[in-house]
């Protein structure tokens, strides 16, 4: 299942679904992200609709947490334009915890 044409989808890992009522995805209408939708706009919107989810992804300075990765398709947004990476209708952004720890 893909997001509606006019939406982008945030894929949420299992460990964060307590903040989405169990849902594995959050769909956001592109019109909620302004004239030039970006990853930053998506996360800013998330801070309004799911603040406890957003602060697991970004710190209070709105920087991506060090061990959190966001993938747009097969690309880590850190390898694109980070939070300035543009979004287009129908895309999926996946939140993935980095492989780290002991």
């Amino acid at each position: 299942m893909t997001p509606a044409d006019a939406a982008v989808r945030l894929r949420v890992p299992a460990s964060l679904r307590i903040y989405t009522g169990g849902s594995s995805a959050v769909d956001v209408d592109l019109t909620d992200l302004g004239d030039e939708p970006t990853v930053r706009g998506l996360l800013d919107h998330l801070a309004v609709i799911h603040p406890d989810l957003e602060r697991r992804i970004r710190d209070e300075q709105r920087r991506l947490r060090r061990h959190v990765n966001l993938f747009l398709g097969n690309d880590n947004v850190r390898d694109l334009s980070e939070q300035d990476t543009p979004l287009t209708e129908g895309v999926e952004v996946a939140v993935l915890p980095a492989v780290s720890g002991g």
Binding site: R55, E60, Q61, R65, S100, G101
Partner: protein, 365 residues
């Protein structure tokens, strides 16, 4: 009377309970895979008809740090939407870890202090639900020159004066002790007499690697301090410090705990030295003074005495508030020892936990 022991580990919080301080039940982990460096038992709400509140700082390696609270002894936990501790945007900083949660005195209900990394103090007036940055310390002229210790630039100790709410000390690694006499508006370094280990100047105004200090309410100006090298006592609430570790087998270590109601009595866990962080003779021994550091006695009954390569972190030693006092410590190898007789004898009450980062104990009402 039930005693509750909070055990924060690198992979979650465990709660131990006992009615006799000899046999214990254990539940957890709460916040599995989160490092719990800070824990506190706040009995003040119970004194006014509410419930004892538990506070825990839990840090996810991936998802960041948070402060949780429980008013039902851990059956459920709540956190503040948006986060309880957040640096103001204009600081440019973000919370790395909560190192210390410290309820203030009984005459200041609701007031809770938090020491965090990067070195800062936060204040809550609603029992730990929301916090604000203590600007007076954050704006101190020394702060930009503070150097992090091995654990990070952590504000690890908060010590409100027992009888004067305007006076308080904090400890920062590796900046040393700072003191306020006006409720946190202004601060001064308070390290007179404490050596700066491996520094060209042995007695700088700040820069000492203070590991921990503690005091007690019946002699509120008397404090005991474990430095990176050296054990110290202050009789003037931190204005000056005197070395008291000469008769210990080693004066390196991390934790120190004052007896809850017996002035002059304190506990430390010596390690050989900075370059050899094992207990002397590979024997696990707490050392106790009952004469304010004039002499120290080893406490070993019930503790491993052969090939014991056991170390104890700065917040992993504590007492409860009972009489006789219970004394507790947790090891980096995941074992917790308890004494119901002020340290005369010990028993292992839980093994095979992740590394123990913090222990806190209290009798429940």
């Amino acid at each position: 009377m039930t005693t509750l022991l909070m055990i924060g580990t690198r992979k979650g919080l465990f709660l131990a309970r006992s009615d006799d301080r000899l046999s214990w039940s254990l539940d957890g982990p709460h916040f599995g895979m989160n490092a719990v460096y800070a824990a506190a038992i706040d009995p003040r709400p119970a004194a006014s008809g509410g419930s004892t509140r538990l506070l825990a700082g839990a840090d996810s390696e991936h998802w960041g740090p948070s402060v949780f609270r429980s008013d039902d002894f851990g059956a459920s936990w709540q956190e503040t939407e948006g986060g309880a501790i957040r640096f103001p945007v204009d600081t440019g900083e973000a919370l790395v870890r909560t190192w210390q949660l410290r309820p203030a005195g009984a005459d200041q209900p609701g007031l809770v202090w938090a020491g965090v990394e990067p070195g800062a103090l936060f204040r809550s007036e609603d029992g730990g639900e929301t916090f604000s940055l203590v600007e007076g310390l954050w704006n101190h002229r020394h702060r930009e020159r503070w150097m992090p210790g091995g654990g990070g630039l952590c504000l690890h100790t908060v010590m409100p004066h027992a009888t004067d709410p305007d006076r308080m000390l904090v400890g920062v690694s590796a900046a040393g002790v700072y003191r306020t006499d006006d409720g946190g508006k202004s601060w001064e370094a308070s390290n007179t007499g404490i050596d700066a280990w491996r520094a060209p100047d042995q007695h700088p105004e700040f820069g000492q690697c203070v590991h921990k200090f503690d005091g007690q309410r019946d002699r509120p100006d008397q404090l005991f301090l474990q430095n990176h090298g050296g054990v110290y006592r202050s009789d003037d609430f931190g204005a000056t410090w005197s070395a008291i570790g000469e008769s210990l087998p080693a004066d390196f270590g991390f934790p120190v705990a004052a007896h809850p109601h017996r002035p002059g009595t304190a506990y430390v866990y010596p390690l050989v030295k900075d370059e050899h962080r094992m207990p002397p003779e590979d024997r696990c021994r707490i050392y106790r003074t009952t004469d304010a550091g004039e002499s120290w006695e080893p406490l070993a009954e019930g503790l491993p005495q052969q090939r014991a390569y056991v170390s104890v972190l700065r917040d992993a030693l504590c007492t409860d508030d009972a009489d006789p006092a219970g004394v507790y410590f947790g090891t980096r190898s995941g074992e917790v020892f308890a004494s119901a007789d002020e340290g005369a004898s010990w028993a292992s009450i839980v093994r095979h936990l992740p590394d123990v980062l913090v222990v806190r104990a209290a009798e429940l009402p």
